[in-house]
Amino acid sequence: MTVTDHSRATADAAHTHGLGTPTPDASRADRPTSFEVDAFTVPTGREEEWRFSPTKALAPVFVDAAADGHLEWDVPELPAGVTLTEVSTADARERSVRAPGDRAAAVAAARAGGAMALTIAPNTVVDEPIQITLTGTGADVRGHLLVEAGASSEATVIIERRGTATYSEFVSVDLAENSGLNLVLLQLWDEDAVHAGEVVARLGRDSRLRGSVVTLGGKAVRLNTSAAFAGEGASVDLFGLYFADSGQHQEHQLFVDHAVPRCTSRVTYKGALAGKTARTVWIGDVLIRKEAEETDTYELNRNLVLTDGARADSVPNLEIETGEIAGAGHASATGRFDDEQMFYLRSRGISEDEARKLVVRGFFADLIQEIGVPTVEESLMKAIDLELEHVNEELAEEQA
């Protein structure tokens, strides 16, 4: 009999600290950003930031050409103080918090034919979540989106992606002084969608961003999220939930840039994997610059591997350039739901399918509660149950 101790489970990938980072750049902050597509070569998979990525599946999003498709936007009646407007490419560049950091995002910004800007006027407080659904109809699509939270505004914005598309996007999130934004990005694509996105957030003084990312669908989804502090006293909470089946690659890269003093960041990502070729990647970079005294940061990634063959990579990086910090830490663990756990639950009458459900629901429960939007939380639990049914069917087929 073996006793499974998950507290001792570790990620099989590199786990690096500051100076040991394999990045060719001296610092994560040295990576180039530009609106010029040519500033970035077409990724081959050998580059540090693309080394885990399925560059072949992502190839269409690197092509510097306009795409003819679009996503269908389903926008509710917007509350007073909130507007959704079309913005020219030039204006969109101007209003983005910074330039794109990779080729896919640069192509998206250059070739989207302008941006959509969701703007929350200063001092606007919206109680009800604003839910926008984008549905792909199978075409190639480029997208540039601006989310702008005015000073002292408060809102929850949910952007849900469905259907299928080959989609590249650049999303700029601008939080003005003392604003609070709860931004939820749901990747509920059909199984053949390809999605490469860069989300860049800038946090003004005393602002609060709660950013949740949920990736369940798609063949290849790669989201690169950055949050940069531009004013003191701001805080960011980044939550992520992903569930990969066979044939899915789900990648989440994060970068939190502590450039000013007294800011707080929390990164919490959890993923489940089931199926022989399920693949997830999590890379979490945190930089605490010399000026960023009294920074408080913690990032965590946990993965639950439900079946043989699935692979989860988890790479936390912490660069610290000042000793005057309140706290900095990270944790990464990849655990297996193993045969002994399964036997234990089944010996109590719980069927194999139910056992898996119990464990996966338990694994995600606290994270889902953090999203802070009850309707999303409920539908997510249902979506996870559906994923599990799919997994159970797949496993039953394998056993047959």
């Binding site: 101790d5 009458g349 119990l358 464990v359 694994f363």
Partner: protein, 251 residues
């Protein structure tokens, strides 16, 4: 009235050195209300017997039969055995991260009964059982076996036995690694469940100490994959005085 009937049970396990026969013809019948102590030296196959009855995939049954009230236990899956009324209190209960004790207990109870327990009585039953086992109510919110001490794990096993109300329970070295206080609490729990439900018990143990608290009706000495000798309480006393040497020499 239930009967677990084990006949000529043979089981083997795959090891790096090849297939190893561990159970070599076990015959044993346990009726409701009876407590059978299975005593034997380390490595004699006691735990293999326990896991074979529960259906652990590691052990292959090569010969013999096991029936519960005439139903073929060996043909049942692991969870079907539990639903049929079998229970195994494990020597090394497994940690299940992310699953709270309360959620686990309710899910198991629902699976065994085929319907969710009535909320009000269930909450009361769980609380009473936990109180009786001196388990703090905060226990219910902890993850299954995660960070539990040895004594807590064993109390948690008995808690499950009480709530799931099996017909036949196999207690695999439930006494190992417990101090006297924990041993007494666990033993009282076992006696209480037996008094309340009249279940049959297979009490696997290496030490005679637990038999001060739980009265066996039958004592079986287990050596080299078989029952070498059977008797009553007095056999346990003799084992305590003489140890297992007599049996090991002949084996």
């Amino acid at each position: 009235m239930s009967t677990l009937e084990i006949k000529n049970l043979h089981a083997s396990v795959e090891t790096p050195e090849g297939t190893k026969q561990i159970l070599k013809g076990v015959d044993l019948t346990i009726n409701s209300g009876e407590t059978h102590a299975i005593m034997g030296p380390n490595g004699s196959g006691k735990s293999t017997l326990a896991y074979s009855l529960a259906g652990h995939p590691k052990y292959e049954i090569t010969e013999g039969s096991v029936t519960l009230d005439g139903e073929d236990v060996l043909a049942m899956s692991v969870d079907e055995r539990a639903k049929a009324g079998m229970f195994l209190a494990m020597q090394y209960p497994v940690e299940v991260p992310g699953v709270s004790v309360s959620n686990f207990l309710r899910t198991a109870k629902t699976a065994i009964d085929g319907e969710a327990p009535k909320l009000r009585t269930w909450v009361k039953d769980v609380k009473k059982s936990m109180d009786d086992l001196r388990m703090d109510s905060s226990f219910a919110e902890r993850n299954v076996n995660e960070g539990f001490s040895g004594g807590e794990k064993k109390r948690h096993e008995i808690l499950q036995m009480e709530l799931l109300a099996p017909k036949i329970a196999v207690l695999d070295e439930t006494d190992s690694g417990l101090d006297v206080d924990a041993l007494r609490i666990v033993s009282e729990g076992v006696n209480r469940v037996k008094d309340n439900t009249g279940l049959g018990i297979m009490l696997i143990t290496h030490y005679t100490r637990i038999l001060k608290y739980i009265q066996p009706d039958f004592v079986h000495v287990f050596v080299n994959g078989q029952i070498a000798e059977q008797g009553g309480r007095e056999l346990a006393d003799r084992l305590e005085a003489e140890g297992y040497d007599r049996f090991l020499a002949s084996a």
